[in-house]
Symmetry: D2
Subunit: 344 residues, 4 copies
Amino acid sequence: MSAKLKTAVVGATGYAGFELTCLLQRHPYLCTPLLLSRDGDMSRPSNLAEVFPGFTGNGSYPLVPFSWERLSESGVRLLFLATPHEVSQTLVPEALTRGLRVIDLSGAWRLKQEQHRAIYSSSANHREIADKAVYGLPELNGDKIRDAALVANPGCYPTSIILALAPLVRAGALDRTRGVICDSKSGVSGAGKEPTSRTHFVSVANNFSAYSIFGHRHTGEMLEQLQLSSHELVFTPHLLPIPRGILSTIYVHLAHRMVPADVEAMFQDFYRGARWVRIFATPQLPEIQFSLNTNYCDIGFGLADDGRRLVLVSCVDNLLKGAAGQAVQNMNLMYEWSEEAGLA
Amino acid sequence: MSAKLKTAVVGATGYAGFELTCLLQRHPYLCTPLLLSRDGDMSRPSNLAEVFPGFTGNGSYPLVPFSWERLSESGVRLLFLATPHEVSQTLVPEALTRGLRVIDLSGAWRLKQEQHRAIYSSSANHREIADKAVYGLPELNGDKIRDAALVANPGCYPTSIILALAPLVRAGALDRTRGVICDSKSGVSGAGKEPTSRTHFVSVANNFSAYSIFGHRHTGEMLEQLQLSSHELVFTPHLLPIPRGILSTIYVHLAHRMVPADVEAMFQDFYRGARWVRIFATPQLPEIQFSLNTNYCDIGFGLADDGRRLVLVSCVDNLLKGAAGQAVQNMNLMYEWSEEAGLA
Amino acid sequence: MSAKLKTAVVGATGYAGFELTCLLQRHPYLCTPLLLSRDGDMSRPSNLAEVFPGFTGNGSYPLVPFSWERLSESGVRLLFLATPHEVSQTLVPEALTRGLRVIDLSGAWRLKQEQHRAIYSSSANHREIADKAVYGLPELNGDKIRDAALVANPGCYPTSIILALAPLVRAGALDRTRGVICDSKSGVSGAGKEPTSRTHFVSVANNFSAYSIFGHRHTGEMLEQLQLSSHELVFTPHLLPIPRGILSTIYVHLAHRMVPADVEAMFQDFYRGARWVRIFATPQLPEIQFSLNTNYCDIGFGLADDGRRLVLVSCVDNLLKGAAGQAVQNMNLMYEWSEEAGLA
Amino acid sequence: MSAKLKTAVVGATGYAGFELTCLLQRHPYLCTPLLLSRDGDMSRPSNLAEVFPGFTGNGSYPLVPFSWERLSESGVRLLFLATPHEVSQTLVPEALTRGLRVIDLSGAWRLKQEQHRAIYSSSANHREIADKAVYGLPELNGDKIRDAALVANPGCYPTSIILALAPLVRAGALDRTRGVICDSKSGVSGAGKEPTSRTHFVSVANNFSAYSIFGHRHTGEMLEQLQLSSHELVFTPHLLPIPRGILSTIYVHLAHRMVPADVEAMFQDFYRGARWVRIFATPQLPEIQFSLNTNYCDIGFGLADDGRRLVLVSCVDNLLKGAAGQAVQNMNLMYEWSEEAGLA
């Protein structure tokens, strides 16, 4: 191991950005990350401990105003963006021009197809960059991630769903004519740090609700990565009264009759060597608590007596495997480090 | 209104039984209910306030040991059973012989078909009684409930699901070849008052989990009431980290293309005059909080652009419309009282 | 009973105002209340169900813009203010001039002494009105409330604390030289409906915190009503990760040695006939759940072996006995109705 | 660093024992710990992942039946007991005879004075061992812990309270004639993993309660370590609706008038060099979230204008600094490792 890598984070004051900063601080192959604030940041704190007082005493975490000069002077080679997609759309072209590698946690560069990208109002002149961006799901796209200049870190919901479905899709085991139903439930941190009437404690506690039926912007990622068309997949997100964690219950029909041992073997084979995916043997099912505060994606299932109707259950911590942890996993691939460096 | 009706409750120390007792206490047409304890009851409290100290000061609620003599001497005409199904299977035949009317909150008498009844180990000599029992969903079976000697009060999950699907099934609007997916989420009181490792606060808080995939005993009720076969419906229950409330997300295909206004009109028409069902106009969706502590079943929906794929969202308070409130609603029908008596 | 009373509510879209509206709707001696919105109200909804969708189907609850003319034309005789104290300071003088009776849920008129009133920035020309306002704690000030034109409804914390200490203070049983420690814990609805970073679900869940040490504006009410000086009482509020409910733990020294039976008898005697106070016999202690969704103030205690050190535990639902329920209880006194009308 | 130390854990299936096992697994100077089960353990699982399925995939964690032979053959030098105090009372004498060093997380050996030890039914023939046991609060007793054969790991409540009061007591800054009030609030894991009606989710959620007023068995530890007599300190524990974390609010009078800067300086000086205590500068106060999942004890305060009445706020994670983390910190001292080894 030679000199440590110099990284920077834009957006460290959000939930995912803060989680990322904590991971980068502890990562064995990195210098202390440079934390950059933007004009739009609330009250422009000068230190991360002002926003997260629990961070007190873990050292000094200055937040400095963003500028390209500062990035350049600091010798930063890898830039993490934990920003709204509009900000990522503005920063990424310039960053790439300046020779930086970028891992973007927003949705700005995840989609290739125009009909999906429309939801992020991506203008046409970004197409060239979008074409080069690599969708950062390490278990599926590891080879491309290694060489990528721009990694589009996946959404939290898609991570839980794509990893559960990919083994079936790739093996042709899915009866696509019967459709795929994805019923996902997420903790509140997925809705962001901005206080709204929807994230008020009194609105969330003792409650549970569905939202964005047939209209959530994460749907496009699932369709593109799984190569499904929009009428083949229904995705319904729900808001859980917990701070973090996602559980997706996924309903499919198998193309051929299977027994539980077949299904388990198919998943075990597909994810052999994948450090951050755990397959649960039936009847044990993953629960949100199991993967909380870890980078695991946990996958379990139940199979009907007919051997055709399959229910998959998939869990991730939305801030780790669903965001910051996956970003670190991607970085580990990009620099040919152990996939678990900084995550174990 | 002549003399008030005399009722009794077996099982008042459980969650549903307690909720029922509170409702009966306040009901305008009833005497104070007689509360009966069984040998198996924990520690056989002599007063309900020993088990629910918050009940202190609301009067005296003695619990007396169950005996047929006591029931008879007290002039009880209507017996509520909030007991395990094995107890209901023992008590109901004798109660009917003695001329009592019975509303049973257990699953003992809800099912007609042998293959479904097996899950409750119903013996053959009970078939005659099961045949006469009326499934107590007032919005669907009101006429039969009026004259019933034995009302089998529906399960909490089936209440939320059957009420959401009945308008489609009865209108022939469901494409049954595509199947029905019912993804339900329930608060912890649905798991009963017995302390277990599964209901321990630390197990439930910050967690969410699926259970009984392809194996929950409420499935039979849905199939029988909706006249579906077992391969046409998948039901997956989940445990929410909240004390009470159920939300079911239901995925169907329509037999014919519709627009949202058609769907809303179909539901409004079907439930016209139904005091305890509320239809939400899209895009407003019901949430668990909305029906908490009420006897409402709230139903909303989202329809895909193709006019065929429909997602229904249905909420009930599992202890009220899903148990005790529905029992009172059934009683109101049986005695030709206003459907909202004691429930508003 | 003659014609029903006509009331109005300003501030029905806040937590306490909404709870009050629900109580007034169901109150047997009232017309449907007139709901008035102010310019400052968020988005000026035209119906209460827009703000609280769970209210759907309970009838129509129009919100109309506030004007004195409308109040007058509607024949309103009693005005409830569930508004910020600045608004109450503006509206009350005019309302009294127009001959309306007022129950104000804000802190605007609760305090008599200038040093305490300063916290609400009360100007001197309001002193005359403040002098006539009656502190609306029915168990202590019932006679004055009956004839009051202006009732200043107590704060939620003071309600739990004053009711617990009043029997000791009035009997001279308190050793005031040793001081009184009030350690209170409240659910989040006490912080209001405005979304802030402090009321964000992720900030509150899995958390607990103290705030406003030696500086909470409810302290003055306690001092005035208990006739204590500021160095004799310490009050520390805390934020509980629950939507509603207050528990106060209060530490005092008795002036004379007592046994538990003495303490219990003193409290039972003091609150004999008080419909909404429950005294718990040791070792049973009140818990927040017991008084939730009720108008009770529950009081229990533990006494040290020395017979001098006494710990009181007092619980209220902050939105009912701590706000809206108490307001209705005050109205019942003002119109000589049963103290439990509309509250049982 | 020479060969790694071999440790064993009895009681790894409880909350504190499990947390301890996780810490020991990751500790840089230790072999994988030997996990021992006892006859009384529920169902005697053979692997820790059976009890904590979230542990799946982190390696194999066999639980083997306890025997002295196995301990000896395995070369274990340090024994951790996360067992009920009765078990610790049985195991410790033999362990010491066999030359093992022991860190006991139970209350069995924390108390020196007979009147306090009575609560653990310690028999007289244990006095000799109790006299040699060192109370394992590293910030106060570091020198003795280094050489101890038996470390009695402190209770969770006493950790939060003793650390907050020690600077005042040792400096003689406390006015002991005015007494000390300790109002503590704890998450549910403090009540243990056994399912009871008190730890049932429905009992805890939306609730908050006081218990064991003037009778909690942790009181003796506080009195002994702070050298206070029983009439000088009142301790009231409460149950918070969260899984873990303790906040203690402590009310004292200062012997001499101070300003906030004095208080802060006194605490900063006392804990200079203490890796796991953080002092918060007024007006910032610690909250439970800040120290959650860390080994910190966080201390803040508010001071009245009179410069005499002081309110201290102290937070720990009850399973880490209040149990397992502190046990590791003690081990680090005993083996002269960095105080943060395995804890950062």
